[in-house]
Symmetry: C2
Subunit: 191 residues, 2 copies
């Protein structure tokens, strides 16, 4: 079952979910194994009708193996309320802590029309198809994905824009600095 407030975002607006540079959770599954990790190094690469993203996935991670094996992954935006969860899934590896999702209370559901796991409680989700670039992956741990589906929590993102000011503060997105310290997404300013 899909979460309440989970609403489709048109592909040509999907870049706006990540344009402000939040920390993301990366999820993937293969052969019935699902994993989730945190990544501060994720970015928009293209927009319009062919949106793309980049994300850096360390060779030591189980999630990277699932991305490479399945050819799919999701990037999603955890909230202020999920800061501790984000730290935990970023520091524990499923290679050492096989039940890390259970241990840290990470629940997933499946993205519509795909087999890609998405994380409950996030406020934006981008389902992606890996664009194989072996040189980037091997040399820089850099992965590129075509965005094939996007959704957002309509309490904070609707009509192509963020509306954090109208919603509970706990639904704001977060930006990791270092050592578990995050900067919360703040007020709007028009340039």
């Amino acid at each position: 079952m899909l979460p309440a407030h989970f609403k489709h975002v048109p592909l040509d607006k999907s870049y706006r979910l990540m344009n402000h540079g939040p920390t993301v959770l990366v999820s993937a599954q293969h052969g019935g194994v699902t994993n989730v990790m945190a990544a501060a190094w994720a970015c928009v690469l293209d927009y319009g009708n062919t949106p793309k993203v980049t994300v850096v996935l360390d060779k030591a991670t189980r999630t990277r193996e699932l991305v490479e094996a399945s050819g799919f992954f999701a990037l999603q935006l955890p909230t202020k309320a999920m800061a501790t969860l984000t730290c935990r899934v970023g520091s524990d590896s499923a290679k050492d802590v096989p039940d890390k999702l259970l241990k840290h209370g990470v629940k997933t559901f499946t993205a519509p029309d795909t087999d890609i796991p998405l994380v409950e409680g996030c406020v934006g989700w981008l389902a992606c198809r890996l664009v194989p670039e072996p040189h980037n992956q091997q040399t820089y741990d850099l992965f590129i994905g075509d965005v094939i589906g996007a959704w957002a929590d309509d309490r904070v993102f609707r009509d192509g824009h963020w509306h954090f000011d109208d919603a509970p503060d706990d639904l704001r997105t977060i930006h990791h600095v270092a050592g578990g310290q995050f900067l919360v997404t703040g007020e709007v300013v028009q340039g």
Copy 2:
């Protein structure tokens, strides 16, 4: 002359200037021509003693030509006070508006021990040497740089951490969403 509050940041802490995903200004010079553009799609690629960054530079931009010709560029973090300037240098091209820096009040100075122009008023600066990757540049407009020098305004970044809460609100960094709308970097939360 270097700006007041312009302080060296050790290379192994330089990723923390961009880890929270702010919008950046990209600057470069070649043959006496200096230009500056805005980019929301910039990201950390590596840290430690070999820090790297990525930035997406459209083929239509003059700044890209200067980066390709000189092999160097800088990424720097504009402030809330610079939101309008950031929009203007992001929408005007020096190809159409040759005096765009003068027109929008953009002043530069030279990064220590380099020929790389840096923008006054920013609160973090990363001087970078281009890592040539022709396939990424041509296919994705994606540029990789080795960070060779880093500095920050010590009113907001010192001892390897951001301290926005102790400083004037106008010195906060900004995150572009779309159409000149930015989200300002907000409060700290510990995960």
